[in-house]
Structures are given as structure tokens and as C-alpha cells.
Symmetry: C2
Subunit: 488 residues, 2 copies
Amino acid sequence: MFSSLEFNNNEPIYLQIENYIKYMIKNNMVVTDAKLPSSRDLSKILGVSRNSVIVAYENLEADGIVYTIKGRGTFVSKSKEDYKNGWNLSWDNMINSYGRLAEELDIVKTEIPWEKGMISFKSISPDGALFDIDEFKKSFLNRISLEEDKILNYGYAQGYKPLIDYLLEYMKQKGVSVENKDIIITNGFTEGLEMILDTFCNFGDKILCENPTHNTSIKIMKVLGLDIIGVKMNQDGIDIEELENKLKNNKIKFGYLIPSYHNPTGIVMKAEKRQRVYNLFRKYNIPIIEDGFNEELLYNSTHISPLSSIDKGGNGVIYISSFSKILFPGLRVGWILADKRIIDVLESVKRCKNIHTSFLDQGILYEYLNSGAFDKNVKRIRKVYREKYDFALNCINKYIKPDFIWGEGALHIYIGIEGVKSRELLKECYKKNVIFTPGDIFSVDNSCENTLRIGLTRLNLEQIEEGIRIIGEKVKELRERIRFNEDK
Amino acid sequence: MFSSLEFNNNEPIYLQIENYIKYMIKNNMVVTDAKLPSSRDLSKILGVSRNSVIVAYENLEADGIVYTIKGRGTFVSKSKEDYKNGWNLSWDNMINSYGRLAEELDIVKTEIPWEKGMISFKSISPDGALFDIDEFKKSFLNRISLEEDKILNYGYAQGYKPLIDYLLEYMKQKGVSVENKDIIITNGFTEGLEMILDTFCNFGDKILCENPTHNTSIKIMKVLGLDIIGVKMNQDGIDIEELENKLKNNKIKFGYLIPSYHNPTGIVMKAEKRQRVYNLFRKYNIPIIEDGFNEELLYNSTHISPLSSIDKGGNGVIYISSFSKILFPGLRVGWILADKRIIDVLESVKRCKNIHTSFLDQGILYEYLNSGAFDKNVKRIRKVYREKYDFALNCINKYIKPDFIWGEGALHIYIGIEGVKSRELLKECYKKNVIFTPGDIFSVDNSCENTLRIGLTRLNLEQIEEGIRIIGEKVKELRERIRFNEDK
């Protein structure tokens, strides 16, 4: 690093070395705490006497520019002057409305966080104990033996071909016609939804959805400046009359629906109703974005096909899904099945956003699916979640006695308690170390204030009973308080 | 699936079964090619005579609604009627300007693709043969043994803590002060840049950058509707006079710079120049986005610190990087180092976009870095690329004799040939199975038409010589053609 130092004949050598080191520090050619060459080495490098170097180092140390550690050498000090005069921009003022909304709607930041020792009914992420780690390791080793460095280098924006082919076949098994359709792999469902809205919507466009609905989807629509039209839910799903009304009277860009184990209500839309809903959207020529959320948990005995399967040979339904509520959500792999033209443009959009989804993760997931490990695993998972659900349902009926319980299983239970605001209930339960998700989070219009979602995946039966008992206790107290106030 | 069939007393049993199956098919309760229960099983399920079922199946088969495979059973036919009447939306017309631009600027779609047998100087992705697969496997196995299912479940938007801590230390080693700063993990550099622009810019904002510059960055700016102000490059990097002029006379939101092995020119900005450039941006209070691209390939002997390191204790430089040009780009892991307030808002933005980057990939990368495998590997990689570069440089001087060669190593060489349009040259070389990247792709104003980038990473020395020989031949032919035309 001393290669560009050229000595002149006017100044003493030690001073020239001193000044050059100062110059290097000033120009960031050496950094704080960097080790300088030993005096012996430097004298050789520069072809000068060792004494000149020693004097230069001593002067620099006296000025606080370098420091010495006995037996280790001479190092560059931190320059206090520089730090005092740091460039100071006010970044907070520079965040645009997109960034502000993303923060404002970020429930991780705004809601009560989980703390150790709490019973949290907030989560619906899968129970990690159900992951088959051995099969996962095997999948990794098999795939990397086969692909070697190829799977670690840049891949294709559309995704890993064997995984795409597997998922096309998988969707066919669900009864969806894949003619003129294709699949793109995304970083989970979230990216899939964002990409579609980003590519087809303009600021202020209207999206129709169930109300309540998946809070992340609401967030994505809001940050993109879209206008959300909610349609109320009944025990059997979206209200058909209100749906037709709103489809007829609004210029709607997309419908967004969660037909299976709807989040948060848990309702599975029946086959006949799916047909009616599809017919209505088609009648008004409004394409549907179908959220395949949790479809894998549907029990074999009541096979219900996705909305997409009704649209045989058509291109009016865009299907997005992931296995993230069952398999390895840490991997962030989801997919979109849609008209070829849609996948084509999304391929370019994906390349713009992040080139492609991790090929390693896609490769492992493919191997895991293709080996049959998934099929085996999903049966076990269904059984475990079914047990938790049935158990929790009993507890809710016993301890809470809500006014309604919707849905029919999977990862969560949605209940309504008339007269009791779930925010107030949450405040009381929090004091007893129990938390859940208040219904308003899923509402597009600040309604659903008397409802709550009870997520079951991360708790054992004992915790479930204890937590629900406490919620029930607090519901009773709040109901009594209300009655008391009414009597007054 | 026959659970909701209730028999009446008015119609024959076989007809009721027949109609119910039709109803199930119509309502997608059974899908195409699904197997129906055997007549024996169904008669038991329904508690009717086997004969009724047989008659129902026969009638359905006669109508083409089901089909039978001898010895295998009865299956649901594909309904031709449905397919004919598919919902047919014209998606192409529905793509918005963002989607259109993403496609238009997608060079994978618009440029000559690589074909088998070609010598392609287009790529600068790393040579997979340099990946240390054994160490990679070890990193995977170690990390998963330690973390087990935790690393496969949902993680944090900011990233995997051990990796963040490692990178903070890594940036400190580069001389960057990390006080009041933090790191967020992104899906590679591309997502990092997009997230920052998405969060701080508004439509029509001006971004100043080197001209030419990284084509993906140009694309991201354009699709987001930003206005790009290019500053010309000289042999030693950005033109200081023009830079000051443009900083002074425009309301600029960000500067975007690639100080080390600039893409496409390969120029490494000298330490003194870095200081001058930094001072200018600071004078006009315009924050810098520093692209740390390829910094890892800088040779130890000429240690040059990032622009961020000059900004000691300040917050005016946002640093984005990834190891994707050295290590496993298929994993898509990059990072942003910036003021805490920036990382804070980006955390919410990241959660909006795709929850987080694959925790598995972050875990493996962390293990690989922390084990020392990276340090060992990067030295070897530097050596291999240095050899390729030196060899290619000789070939270029021998066969092409360009008017200028810029840069000083790493993955590519940028050359200029006066009078020869690189697009025309590419057309001629393509006929001889040689392709490269014409300079205009990196230009913000359709200039650089006499330049080209020669990427070296994926070729061996023999291919490099052969390819450059062919380019040289074609350059000679084009020069002669030009001289001939001028003489006329």
C-alpha cells in the first residue's frame, strides 16, 4: 500500500513517511484498526533506514493517529475528528407514502408481541415439530448430488423446471385444467399477490374481497394504493346477494377470494357455492385471484376442487399458493398458476424484483415432494391439526360459549362474542399472559370488532385448554361488567 | 363423497345415483379422471343393490360422462362442453405500464440468447466449478443440526441474526463505521436496490449515476418511473466536473455509484477520487447508494475502502452488496447497510414484499462464511479470475487492438472501438457463434455504441482466445468496410 510513495530531497525521510501515512488515512486507503507493516518490513519496502520508520511511527503515535500494542504491532487509530462531523441526513422525513403505509400496517410493529411464558393464539405458522428433518436433509443431499454447482448458480426467473412440472401435475390432480396455463415460482404467497397487483393494477383500482380476509393481503392492497371493496361473510362464506350487488355497481379490477379454510374465518366454501360465485364473477367479467391457502389440509373425504378447476379451458382465475402453512415456510417458495400470457409478463417482473427465487430451496422442495415424503407427512399433519382443532372446539364451547363459531378446522378458529369488544378482551387476557388476534385486523372497514381468531398450531393441548379457560374467564367478566353498566 | 346423497321414493335408485354423479361433476365435487368407487363399494356405501350402481355407471358411460378401464375401474371423463366455453379474458391488454416496461427492458427476452456451442462473453455470473460443494454441504449439515426445524420455519424480516452480526463485523473490517447503522438481508442486490428506491422515491424523482452503469439498475429505475441523470465516465471513473455540474443544477434524490470494478467498465475508483466524489455529494446533500459489486475481488495489495467508510459516523451512504458474483448466486442473498431508521422502515417493506429471505439460505451462507471456507475460497477465485483477465487482455491487444481498454480486472473487460458499432459487430460475430454484450445496454442515453463488455467468467482460456480472435477478425472486416465506404 506504500507503492505510490515517492520521496523528494527537500524533507527528512521520516517526515515524508509520516505525511504519507496521514494522507493514506485521510483518503481511506487504510482503515481504522488496520495493522501497519512492522518498522523492519516497511524499511525494506521503502528502501530506507529502519530508524526513519521508527521515528515516523513514534510521531504518529504521539499525535494519536496510530496506536501500538506490545508484541502485536502498530495500528490505525479511530479518528475522532471525522466521527464528530458525520453527514447527518434526516431519513425519517424522506420516507414516501409507500414506506409509511408499510410501517403503519405492519402488525409485527403495532400489535402486542409474543413474550416468553405467554400462551399465544396469534400464530398460525406450522408446528416445527411436524417437519420431517431427516427427509429434508435427504432431499438436500440427493438434489445437490444430482445438480451440483448448477443449482447454486443463477437460475431462471420462472423457476426450477422440475418443480414447475411437478406443480403443474399437482394442480391437474386437483382438477384444474392447465391448458394454456403456466406456473411461476415466487417467494411465497405474499410475493405472488404483490407481483400480480403490481403488474395489472393502477393506483385507485378496486379489488373486491371477502370481509374479513387475510390481513397481509389487505396490507399489500393498501400499500399499493388500491381501493378495497369488502363483501360480508356468512356462516357458509361470502354473501352472494351483496357480492352480485357490488360486482354490478363498481368498476372492479379483481376479486380476491380464499375458498378453503378462509383466513380468518376457517370457512370452506361448498362446491355448489363455488360454482355460483364463479358464475357471478364471470357474468361481470371480473377475474378472480384465488388464494389456495391451506387447501392441502382439506380432508380427502370431502374433496372440493379449487375455483380454478371450474374455469375449465378458461383463463379467468389466477391461482396463488404455497405450502408455507404445512412445509418449511422459512424457505419462502410459492407459485402462481395462470394464463401463459400472465406468467410471461410476471417472469419479467420477477427478474426485475429479485432475479429469481432461491434455486437451492426450489430444488430441495421438489425432491421432498417428488420422493413421496410430502404425501406421507401431510397425512400426519392433518391428523395432528384435526385433533387440536376438535379439542379446542370443545374447550371453546365449554369455557367461552361464544355467539358463533365459524369454519371447520385447519389451523385456527374464528369466534364472535356479542357485546364484547375483542380489543378490550385482549387487553384483559394480556394481563393474564394470553394473547390472540382481534378480528378487526382482518376487517377492511374496521368492523369485526366482536370477533377473534384463535390460532392453534404452536400450542399443545394443555396450553390450548389453559389459554381458552382464561379467555372464557375474561369474557365472563366483561359480559358481567356490561350487564352491570346496562342495569345502572 | 356420496355422503350428502339422500334417496327419494319417486325415482328409480339407479337414476338418482346417475343424477347425483352428474351433479357432483357439474359442481366440481369430483374432477376429471377421478376414480369413482367400484360398484361393489358404492352399493355398500349407499346401502343399495349393486345392480342399481352398475346400471347408473353404464348409463353415464353411454353418455360419455364416465369411462371405464378394464381391471382398473370407472373414471370421470373430461367434459368437452366445459372446455369449449372457457372464460376468455384478454390479459395482454390488462398489463399496466410497470409490467410493460419490465418486459420491454428485459434483455433476456430482447437480446440474442445463448445457444449450445456458442462462445458467449455475455455472462459475468461466477464459474460454478469454483464453488466448494463439499464445504457447502458441510455448512448445510452443520447449520441444520444446530438449528433443526427453527431455520425451516418463519423467521424475521430483517434477516438471520448470526448472518447480520457477521456482516456488520465484515463491514467494520472494510473500514466502515457501523455506529447508528444496521443491516437488512435481501434477495440479492437487485431486491436491495428496488426496496430502497420503492421506499424513498416518488415517480419522476431524479437519480444520478455513472454512464454507462449496471443495466439491471437502469431497468429498476426506469420501471419505477424515475428520471436517470447520467454522468460520463473517463479512464479513472466518473467525470468530476460534469458530476458537480449536474449535482448543482438538478434536484437529485440519490446518487447511485459502483466504485469497485464498475459494471461495465471494470474501473476501480482510486481512494483520492473516492474522497472527492464523496465530498461533492455531501456538499450538495445528496445521499449515495453505493453498489458494493465485486468488492470482494479487490486484491489485498491495493486495499481500497468503500465510499461508506469515508462517511465516518455519518448516514449519507447506503451500502448494498451481495456475494453473488463469487458465491452461490442461486441462493439470492444480499444485504443493505444503512442508517438504523432506513433499515427499520425497510424491515416493514420487506415484510410487505415477501416476509423475509430464505432462512435456510441465510443459515448456510452464515455457516460457510464463519467457517473460514469463504476466505480460503475467495483467494483461489481471485487467482483464477486474475489469470483469465490477464490472458484475455493479451488476446484483446493481439487480436482486436481496440482504441481503449478500461478497468483493471475482475470478471469483465470493457473496450471501445472507434468507428465500429458494437451492434453491427455483434451481428457479424453471432454468425460465427460468438456473442458479447454491446455497450448501449449499459447506457442511460443510447450512447456507448462503440463499446462492448467482454465477460470472462464462464469460459476457459481456449474459448477466450478463440472468441476474441473471431471478434478481432470481424472488427478488421468492419473497419475495412468503413474505410472502403469513406473512400468511395
